[in-house]
């Protein structure tokens, strides 16, 4: 089996590596790069725990091969924080108690981040649509939705203020 050379930019850092055709992006992030913030729940596209941001869009890293991401710019939960400062979404999830066990949280936040990047003033309906692929067994969804609303409005204020 021939390995394939790929280049990835992950959280601003460039990586080059040789991967097998069947290696999933999820496994490369977690096991080769040690970025274990991205979780595996189901491995079949249902739960969203593995959601990352690729070239500005939310995608499921369990449903992608690493070779398919060759050349891509990837953001994971580890890349959101700026130095010691949490991202407004992270702050809002904590502030609104939208985190209980936390297993779904990185995926929820990455899906929300992609939404806010493409639409700085999302409505509740848009947030629920964007999070429809993120299963949470703890919070009942209302708190994450509130947190995203709060983060979006804070980010707009900071930008304008």
């Amino acid at each position: 089996m021939k390995k394939i050379d790929i280049k990835l930019t992950v959280n601003g850092e460039q990586h080059e590596m040789a991967v097998a055709p069947g290696e999933r992006l999820l496994d490369v992030l977690r096991e080769r790069l040690g970025l274990t913030g991205t979780k595996e729940g189901c491995g079949e596209g249902e739960c969203g725990a593995c959601t990352i941001n690729m070239n500005g869009q939310a995608v499921l890293s369990c449903l992608m091969l690493a070779v398919q991401a060759d050349g891509a710019t990837i953001l994971t939960i580890e890349g959101l924080q700026k130095g010691a400062d949490l991202h407004p979404l992270q702050e809002a999830f904590i502030g609104e108690s939208a985190v209980q066990c936390g297993y779904c949280t990185p995926g929820m936040i990455m899906a929300s981040d992609a939404l806010i990047r493409n639409n700085p003033s999302p409505t509740q309906g848009m947030i629920r649509d964007a999070l429809a692929n993120n299963i949470c067994r703890c919070t009942g969804y209302d708190r994450p939705v509130k947190a995203v609303l709060k983060a979006a409005s804070q980010m707009k204020e900071r930008k304008n203020g």
């Binding site: 079949e44 369990c62 060759d70």
Partner: protein
């Protein structure tokens, strides 16, 4: 592999990965490996984790068509051409499809999986996977789409109603790939509709029943009627007898009901873990009736 001494990762059992730069190269690779190769686009049908990590059942050599410029949607003289690797979300953003005649298509696009999956999932993958539940098959059946296929001898066209051969089996040869889908322009006054019944528990689900309808009229009577059903037989199909029961008739309540019953009669659903055959058949009547009512209303609006 892991420095921490445990290993969660699974390596799917693919042996080769090819990234052709153009259609010629892709067809050459498919020809070389025959049944041992499979096209990969978004990968959302191919890659979900399976017990044992063997997702390579249909070909150990992957031919990735995502980097070949096959993501356009454009209007030409005789119709709208959608490239096979266009993502569901990009098609959903094409302005023409939010106009009345194409609502069946935009409704199906919006019902397909979730926003996150639709960033990767493609129209070509949805059709070529040949699932009886594929949401996009139904609007394309009633819109009379043609599929343009590339192979070693050049391109050929397949009307969509001839594309489905059996469950997970389409009319492509192992050395062929789907290039684009052509949707003929609709007359401005056309009423179409798509409806999907899923399970209550989750929004992320394949259909239990899905239907699409298409209707044009002259005066009070129907001229062209098309009805397609999915998830209630081995392949998505047109219910021709039901269509003929409405053609030339007034689409009144009773005629619509009889046509909807005939459409469901043409189905052959299965019992499975998600629903019983009897339930699917009953719901098929209701969905076809509602879709036809939507079509009439949209035609008349």
């Amino acid at each position: 592999m892991s420095e921490r001494g445990y290993k969660m990762s699974i390596a799917l059992k693919f042996e080769g990965y090819h990234r052709p730069a153009n259609v010629d190269q892709a067809v050459k690779i498919l020809t070389k490996y025959g049944n041992n190769a499979q096209v990969i686009a978004g990968g959302t049908d191919i890659l979900p984790r399976r017990p044992g990590g063997n997702n390579a059942g249909n070909g150990k050599h992957l031919v990735d068509i995502v980097h070949m410029g096959l993501d356009y949607i454009r209007e030409e003289k005789n119709g709208i051409y959608i490239a096979a690797a266009a993502t569901i979300n990009s098609i959903g953003a094409f302005p023409l499809f939010s106009q009345t005649p194409y609502l069946a298509l935009s409704e199906a696009l919006a019902c397909h999986s979730t926003r996150t999956i639709r960033n990767r999932a493609t129209i070509g993958g949805n059709l070529c996977n040949a699932s009886p539940c594929a949401d996009l098959a139904l609007p394309l059946l009633v819109l009379g789409a043609r599929l343009i296929v590339a192979g070693p001898e050049g391109n050929r066209q397949i009307p969509i109603q001839d594309f489905y051969v059996g469950t997970n089996l389409c009319a492509l040869d192992s050395n062929e790939m789907l290039l684009e889908i052509c949707i003929p322009f609709c007359e401005e006054k056309t009423g179409t509709s798509f409806l999907k019944l899923g399970r209550q528990q989750t929004v992320i689900d394949m259909a239990l029943v899905n239907v699409a309808t298409f209707l044009t009229m002259e005066g009070q009577c129907c001229v062209t009627v098309r009805i397609a059903l999915g998830s209630v037989g081995p392949v998505p199909f047109r219910a021709k007898k039901a269509e003929s029961m409405l053609t030339g008739k007034r689409p009144d309540k009773k005629t619509i009901q009889l046509a909807a019953e005939a459409a469901a009669e043409a189905s052959a659903p299965l019992d499975d873990i998600r629903a019983t055959a009897a339930y699917r058949k009953k719901m098929a009547v209701i969905l076809v009736r509602q879709a036809l009512e939507n079509s009439v209303r949209r035609y008349q609006a």
